[in-house]
């Protein structure tokens, strides 16, 4: 197992597409780290640079203390699993899994023992004699994982491995992957656009956008203290509400307003400097539909049933606002409702950079 370190890595595809923009990232030994972001954010290119499938335009890649920037993929001892399982269709599942061991000229009885052990672990023993073409894609992906695991690589690289698997099997495979990672203590890098995938599996997640890492943190922090408004919006279902407004600080009190009559102040902020405009962020979970002294008003546009809660889509001083409220709150489209915020959950961002101010 190795520690992976990316040192100021940039990748430019000619003529001037900056796919990865000055990324520095440390993946500790034995940890499962997620790279999460929308399509085109640079997560797959970052992964391919770690695997050695792409060379960085600038920056270095280290495995432990060794500079591997110039090394070929096979010299890095990296195992990869892709979105679509890559298997040889003409030979049996057994032979597919055994292939990496055969390449190492392992004695036949040892190969048999190893293949059986790994097939047991992945729960695919019954398929060993079959050809991959006849199997369900979920089972084929298990075979691809078995084939990756059997090599005892330095690091596992998984590129959206569960995206095309049906939901039932996906949960099973997530459980398997998590268990294997815990049991074997392997370093794994997991690329996905699906927050559920990343939040479930990874101990730490790097959220990427436009080739940059916006935040590299544990799931709880990404949710509670996003360092950037994009992270706040991207994580969560639905994501954080973001309202742009004018701001000023008067006597330790941050006052935010917009031209449609929105006004909210936060006391005791001290002598902070804020730009003339800020983004007011609040998660739908912390928007309360309750009467009270300081309640504001909103108009309900749409009510979405979400199990034991409902998501209210509100029109709020010219902005849209979502509130996640218990089923007991009876609201219909067209109704005017009172709105309050859980004060300690309000986050303030800089609109020009998206960075967290408060």
């Amino acid at each position: 197992m190795v520690k992976v370190y990316l040192d100021h890595v940039t990748k430019i595809f000619p003529p001037r597409t900056v796919a990865v923009d000055d990324v520095t990232l440390e993946i500790p030994e034995g940890e499962l780290v997620g790279l999460l972001g929308p399509s085109g954010c640079g997560k797959t290119t970052t992964l391919r640079i770690i695997a050695g499938l792409e060379k960085p335009t600038k920056g270095r890649v280290y495995f432990d203390d060794e500079d591997v920037t110039g090394k070929e993929p096979r010299e890095r001892n990296v195992a990869m699993v892709f979105q679509f399982p890559i298997l040889y269709p003409t030979v049996s599942v057994y032979e597919n899994i055994a292939l990496p061991l055969r390449a190492e000229k392992m004695p036949e009885d040892e190969v048999r023992r190893e293949v059986n052990r790994i097939a047991e672990l992945m729960g695919i023993k019954e398929y060993l004699g079959m050809k991959p073409g006849r199997l369900d894609i979920g089972v084929r992906q298990k075979v691809a994982l078995a084939k990756a695991l059997i090599r005892d690589p330095s690091i596992f690289i998984l590129d959206e491995p569960l995206t095309v698997i049906d939901p039932k099997m996906r949960v099973e495979l997530r459980t398997k992957l998590k268990q294997i990672q815990l049991d074997l203590g392997k370093s794994m890098i997991y690329v996905t656009h699906d927050q559920a995938e990343a939040l479930t599996l990874a101990e730490r997640i790097a959220v990427m956008k436009d080739g940059k890492i916006l935040q590299y943190d544990v799931p709880e922090r990404l949710y509670d203290r996003p360092s950037n408004s994009f992270v706040g919006w991207f994580i969560g279902n639905p994501g954080m509400n973001l309202i742009e407004c004018s701001a000023s600080v008067e006597g330790g009190c941050l006052v935010m307003t917009n031209e449609n009559g929105f006004r909210y102040s936060i006391e005791g902020v001290g002598e902070i400097k804020v730009p003339g405009k800020v983004v007011f962020g609040i998660r739908p979970e912390y928007v309360k539909v309750e009467e009270g002294g300081d309640a504001m008003r909103a108009t309900c546009i749409h009510v979405e049933h979400a199990g034991n809660r409902q998501i209210l889509h509100l029109q709020f001083y010219g902005e849209s606002l979502k509130a996640k409220v218990p089923l007991g709150v009876r609201v219909s489209p067209g109704d005017t409702v009172p709105v309050k915020f859980v004060a300690e959950k309000i986050r303030i961002f800089d609109p020009s950079t998206g960075n967290l101010i408060l």
């Binding site: 997530r174 479930t200 991207f234 969560g236 739908p284 979970e285 979405e304 199990g307």
Partner: protein, 363 residues
């Protein structure tokens, strides 16, 4: 304005029945949702209503008038397909205008209608662009604009959200609901995602296996599903089911399962039952949740799905139950946790999977 009725409609393809003996009424000016798993025949219903296919037997009525023999253009139905079906070599303007060209309208009239609908769907700044230059959400809007510009009485949306990134879906659902309300059209949404039905459909028809179709109010169905299939399917996270047995004696009915037992208020004879528990009704004790009945399981996985977590609980004998936690909750695999639920939240089904009663009812 149109009320649509399907009377005993059947359709086979190459000898294989796709839909059989379907009866369905879609009221005027409603947001109507047809929900079913893949292969349940819901897309065929769309094709039959729009006129892309003809039924082998049965009748399709628009306001009581038989339209079974009419061509798609004669029915006043617009369809938004899931792959958007935009012409890649035409601009957004030309794509939206395409259904009007065949209607021989003047070019000024075409321009007026295209611009009006484009402004309404917030894509008027994109009229000179080509589909490949648009985001998935914008392509979806162009596809909807092209359907709305025809000013058809009925708009059918065939899985309009499946191809969209889930972050776009969050807002697109609310927008579809708003469009229907503002235009007062009859909108039919075909979907396999129960979340679409729960958040949009006032009335939902649930299909299963091309044969079984039942219609009801989506919230009532959530509370009182007809059967186990509907209970499991129409939920945010799939309902758990546990087999048990009801035994009566001394004026009481006790239901026993492998995991827990409880007294049922309602009366049912000695028989096998299936107990349904929604994941959102199971509460983790250490998070402060309580309830009438408790049992224990081992963590198989804590699946964090954004702001919420689905805990997969291993309860032995290769059975797993799902618990919905409205927060980020992480716990090592294999640890034991206690969960609890209230009897009134239970759904009681017979061994034939038909709904009998809720746990709190005297029935």
């Amino acid at each position: 304005m149109v009320e649509i009725t399907l009377e005993n409609v059947s359709k086979s393809i190459e000898g294989r029945p796709i839909v059989q003996d379907i009866n369905l009424t879609i009221p005027d000016k409603s947001f109507f949702c047809i929900l079913g798993p893949p292969g349940s025949g819901k897309t065929m219903i769309m094709r039959l209503i729009s006129g892309l296919d003809r039924p082998d037997s049965g009748r399709i009525l628009f306001d009581g008038r038989d339209v079974s023999g009419l061509e798609p253009v004669e029915r006043g139905v617009a369809v938004v397909f899931q792959d958007f079906a935009l012409y890649p070599h035409l601009t957004v303007y030309e794509n939206i205008a395409s259904p009007l060209k065949v209607k021989r309208l003047s070019s000024q009239e075409i321009r007026r209608r295209v611009e009006e609908v484009a402004r309404y769907l917030k894509i008027h700044h994109r009229l000179t662009h080509y589909p490949s230059q648009l985001s998935g959400g914008e392509r979806q809007r162009v596809s909807i604009a092209r359907a709305l510009v025809k000013d058809a009485d009925v708009v059918i949306l065939d899985e309009p959200l499946v191809r969209l990134d889930y972050k776009i879906r969050e807002d697109m659902r609310a927008e579809l609901g708003k469009i229907q309300k503002e235009l007062g059209k009859n909108v039919i949404l075909i979907t396999s995602d129960p979340i679409d039905a729960l958040s949009l459909g006032q009335i939902v028809a649930i299909m299963n296996g091309g044969r079984d179709i039942q219609t009801g109010n989506v919230h009532e169905l959530y509370e009182r599903p007809w059967n186990l299939f509907v209970g499991k399917y129409l939920g945010v996270v799939e309902m758990n089911s546990i087999e048990g047995r009801a035994e009566s004696g001394g004026g009481r009915t006790i239901v026993k399962t492998r995991l827990f037992e409880f007294e049922l208020l309602g009366k049912i004879g000695d028989s096998g039952v299936i107990i349904g528990i929604r994941p959102e009704h199971l509460r983790i004790k250490e998070l402060g949740g309580g309830g009438d009945v408790e049992f224990e399981g081992r963590i198989a996985l804590t699946e964090v799905i954004g702001s919420d977590t689905i805990v997969h609980l291993d309860v032995g004998e290769k059975e797993y139950l799902r618990v919905f936690v409205p927060a980020i909750y992480k716990k090592p695999i294999g640890e034991r946790v206690k969960v609890a639920f209230n009897l009134s939240d239970l759904y009681i089904f017979g061994s034939d999977e038909r709904f009998l009663m809720r746990g709190g009812e005297h029935g």
